[in-house]
């Protein structure tokens, strides 16, 4: 059975049935049951097709023509690779996933009071009741979320106690190796910050070029009263990758979230960020840049839900599209009936560098409260010719002038970022990408 406008759910359901026994913790019955119900839910709906409004700009037919096999733990050879993408200036804990599996040897989890970092598969074994509650509290109707739940191979759980503030950011590194060919890599993570605690999480998604894999990373975040979390994501998947990252964040009163992302890799990249402001004076800042070329399609979808009064949210996204690149920004701001005195802004600007590039933008406001200030702006255009000429006149050649202007266009997004190595990393990666572009 499949819902209207969806691709059939059966192929992945069949895949699940043949792989079930080999999945991690398959000796735990309640987990098997959870996986089984999840796959049923998935199968009842199927994969979203292009006629499903939210997937209008992301074509998943590649997932229909090839049925990806769930990845196996790798006995990898990627020391070098991982080292290259680690920010060594940052001394905090390091959590490494290779092909969707937690890699104990390459990780470095530093014991620190008030903070617990665990691998999902260990947590399921050692804290079954807590794990069950976590899964139960984070049910989703979305078919892809259910598919992730059914076939997840690993993930992390970060718990921060009351008032604890992390001194150093935690680095999460997801790597796909060449053994991931035709594999799906499914991780599921939970982050929970107790009252007035604070943490910064740097998350990197990386993979080998010319490897065809499907990554699906799902993260659920709970921020208690006054908690503050920064999530800083960088996506440099291989050019054959299908990348999906979905982050759902619930904010209690006075909580704040900063979510930064830079998307550079993959052939299809889908980033979903869904903050829900459930307590007064919550604050969300979303910043992101996506750069696409050579048949890559980057899709960023944000869904900001203002459920209560007096919260603020602000979104800034920039797209740069070079030859063969395609992007879509779908930003939705929802203001519930009683969420008076909401302040919600959204800005999406796109630069087209080539004839064969495409930018789509759908900034959406759904407002049910009257005493609000909401706005959005979206632009699509090419580089400012006047500015280009100005730089030419000052002696820069076209290539350098363009690179400079595009860099400035992106840099605006990361301006307020306080962790210097991350900021440098963002700009460095963007610069390298641009060098190849213009």
């Amino acid at each position: 059975m499949t819902e209207k406008n969806h691709f059939e759910g059966k192929p992945y359901a069949d895949r699940f049935r043949s792989e079930q026994a080999a999945l991690p913790n398959s000796d735990i019955q309640w987990l098997n049951d959870l996986r089984a119900t999840s796959i049923e839910r998935y199968e009842a709906v199927g994969l979203p097709g292009p006629k499903v409004e939210e997937w209008k700009y992301t074509n998943l037919s590649a997932l229909k023509s090839e049925i990806y096999r769930t990845s196996k733990p790798s006995v990898g050879d990627n020391e070098k690779n991982i080292d290259e993408i680690t920010l060594n200036e940052i001394s905090g804990s390091k959590v490494v996933f290779v092909n969707g599996y937690f890699d104990q040897n390459r990780s470095n989890i530093i014991e620190s009071p008030g903070i617990k970092i665990s691998s999902l598969n260990d947590y399921v074994k050692s804290n079954p009741e807590d794990a069950k509650t976590l899964f139960e509290n984070n049910r989703s109707k979305e078919s892809l979320q259910n598919l992730n739940l059914a076939l997840m191979t690993g993930g992390y759980i970060i718990e921060v106690d009351e008032v604890t503030k992390l001194a150093e950011p935690i680095q999460i590194i997801h790597v796909a190796t060449d053994t991931a060919e035709s594999n799906s890599l499914r991780t599921r993570n939970f982050i929970s910050l107790a009252e007035n605690s604070g943490a910064q999480i740097i998350e990197r998604f990386h993979g080998e070029n010319e490897v065809n894999y499907w990554r699906q990373n799902v993260t659920r975040v709970q921020l208690a009263d006054g908690a503050a979390l920064d999530i800083l994501q960088t996506q440099t998947e291989g050019n054959g990758a299908i990348h999906m990252s979905e982050t759902d964040i619930r904010l209690a009163a006075d909580a704040s979230l900063k979510h930064y992302s830079l998307n550079l890799g993959g052939k299809i990249s889908r980033t979903e960020i869904k903050p829900t402001l459930n307590g007064k004076h919550g604050n969300v800042e979303l910043r992101g840049a996506f750069l696409a070329r050579d048949g890559a399609a980057h899709d960023v979808m944000t869904h900001m839900k203002h459920m209560v009064p007096e919260c603020e949210s602000d979104q800034v996204y920039r797209g740069v599209l070079d030859k063969g690149g395609k992007t879509a920004f779908q930003g939705k701001v929802y203001v519930a009936k009683d969420a008076q005195l909401t302040n919600a802004d959204q800005s999406n600007k796109n630069l087209l560098l080539d004839r064969n590039a495409e930018a789509n933008s759908k900034p959406e406001l759904l407002i049910y409260a009257d005493d609000v200030k909401c706005s959005h702006g979206a632009t699509v255009g090419e580089l400012d010719q006047e500015a280009l000429f100005y730089l030419n006149a000052r002696g820069l050649d076209n290539r350098d002038a363009k690179a400079l202007l595009v860099e400035a266009f992106i840099a605006e997004v990361f301006e307020e970022l306080s962790i210097e190595p991350v900021k440098e990393n963002y700009l460095g990666l963007a610069r390298a990408w641009l060098k190849a572009a213009v």
């Binding site: 009936k337 933008s361 759908k362 900034p363 959406e364 406001l365 959005h376 979206a378 632009t379 090419e382």
Partner: protein, 484 residues
């Protein structure tokens, strides 16, 4: 039997200097309730249509059968039962109509009064069974003479099918194909009424063309079809609708409007839509599902849509421009007001195909009471559309905390030389603004009307003078009772 073939062109002067036109004087019989091929054949036969038009209708009908009513709009309503509708019905006989204004809903009369509508007009609008007095056949003749001299064709769509088959065959369905969407397909199958306009090469239509005078036909406008062709280097301004609220027994309206602008031609199409919005509890009201689309086919052609939407319980309407000709221009100026339980999902599509094309979208949505108001728009730039420009401004105003204002724009760009800008804001009438007006002596309703008119100014100033003054009053009337 007298039928449409013998539709006489009569001209009346209802009131004022510009509201001239024709009425169709026909004795009609009812087709049975419901829709099937026989009903369509009946309609076509009644209209003594050429074979090709019947085939066209049937094709549309057969396609319609395979279609589903769209659900993507943010509209919540009970879907009409399409088998419970008369698709060909005689206008109400004099016996069913009110005999005098004394029998008409006083609420309606009060609104007429506020709009400054003459008693005679009020009778016609309210459907009072009066013999319309034709003051001056000579004035009317002059009017028709003037158009004829210039070669302008302005007639009913049925007449056009008979008298101008070449133009009709060439252009009917060329902008909105018969199978375009659910409601357009339905309209294509069963349209019974409408207007045809052709402006010949190089002609600047000497007057604003208006359907306002055709108010005596208010009961048959259910499936209207309008086709306007502006030939090379011509200009026409067309006014649709009426600022006065019209009571209508038909709940479902599914009109299609097609505009074609050829080389250097310009069409200005203005609408004031004030169909019955239902009562304060959301009972009744018109379902208005309209497909309006313009093709700017010629180089430097221009189409400008201006709409003031205050009526209907449900509005589903996206007047669009297909900018094919190089240098062509599309404009959309819209005010949509929803109050009480009204719902409007309206906006535009600007499809840039030609080089150097530009479009402007100014949308002002006002939501009050328990109403929901959606702007939905698409700006699309095709790969070969060099140097296109679009500017979009969508502003929403909320009055009261039980209504909703939503903005759903789509921007799709496939050419790097495009410059697309979209801005949207949502706000409310501030207590400060209201108090400031009150302190200067304006009452609450005047204050709201003034502030809302100011909010809508950019759109209102696009309206032809004939509409502008009444439309301004209309904004205030539509929002009565929304504050305080």
């Amino acid at each position: 039997m007298v039928s449409t073939v013998e539709t006489r062109q009569t001209v009346e002067k209802v009131s004022g200097d510009y509201k001239y036109g024709f009425i169709t004087d026909i004795e009609m019989v009812k087709a049975p309730k419901g829709l099937n091929e026989d009903v369509i054949r009946f309609i076509s036969a009644k209209k003594e249509e050429p074979e090709w038009l019947l085939d066209w209708r049937l094709k549309a009908y057969r396609h319609w059968l395979t279609m589903e009513e769209p659900e993507w709009a943010m509209l919540d309503y009970k879907k009409p039962d399409f088998q419970d509708i008369y698709y060909y019905a005689a206008p109400k006989s004099s016996d069913d109509r009110p005999k005098s204004l004394d029998e008409v809903d006083p609420e309606l009369l009060r609104t007429y009064e506020k709009l400054g509508i003459s008693l005679q007009e009020q009778e016609v609008l309210a459907g009072v069974a009066v013999d319309v007095v034709f003051d001056s056949v000579s004035v009317a003749t002059t009017f028709r003479e003037t158009l004829k001299e210039k070669g302008v064709i302005f007639c009913s769509i049925s007449e056009a099918a008979r008298d101008y088959p070449d133009l009709m065959r060439k252009y009917l369905g060329s902008v909105v194909p018969a199978a375009d969407n659910f409601y357009a397909a339905l309209n294509s199958a069963v349209f019974t009424d409408g207007t045809f306009v052709y402006i010949p090469k190089g002609v600047r239509c000497p007057m604003e063309l208006s359907t306002y005078f055709r108010i005596n036909e208010a009961n048959t406008g259910q499936f209207e079809r309008t086709l306007i062709i502006a030939d090379d280097e011509s200009y026409v301004s067309y006014l649709e609708g009426c600022t006065a609220p019209m009571r209508d027994e038909n709940q479902l309206h599914a009109a299609v409007v097609e505009l074609i602008a050829l080389e250097e031609a310009e069409i200005k199409y203005s609408t004031v839509q004030n169909w019955y919005p239902g009562d304060k509890d959301g009972k009744g009201g018109i379902y208005n599902f309209v497909t309006k689309r313009a093709a700017c086919r010629g180089t430097n052609s221009k189409v400008s849509w201006t709409q003031v939407e205050t009526g209907s319980a449900i509005t589903w309407k996206y007047p669009s421009c297909i900018l094919q000709g190089d240098g062509s221009v599309g404009e959309f100026y819209s005010v949509a007001i929803t109050n009480n339980f009204q719902q409007a999902d309206t906006g535009t599509k600007m499809i840039h195909i030609g080089k150097d094309t530009s479009s402007t979208i100014i949308s002002k949505g006002i939501s009050a009471g328990k109403a929901q108001n959606v702007y939905r728009g698409l700006v699309k730039v095709m790969p070969n559309a060099e140097n296109t420009r679009n500017f979009t401004q969508c502003d929403s105003l909320l009055i009261g905390d039980e209504c909703g204002a939503h903005t759903v724009p789509y921007i799709e760009v496939k050419n790097p030389t495009a410059q697309i800008e979209h801005e949207a804001t949502t706000s409310k009438i501030s207590d400060e603004q209201l108090f400031y007006c009150l302190q200067r002596g304006l009452d609450v309703e005047e204050s709201v009307s003034l502030i809302v008119n100011g909010f809508c100014k950019e759109v209102m100033q696009q309206l032809p003078m004939e509409f502008a003054v009444e439309a301004q009053k209309l904004l205030g009337i539509s929002l009565e009772g929304s504050v305080g």
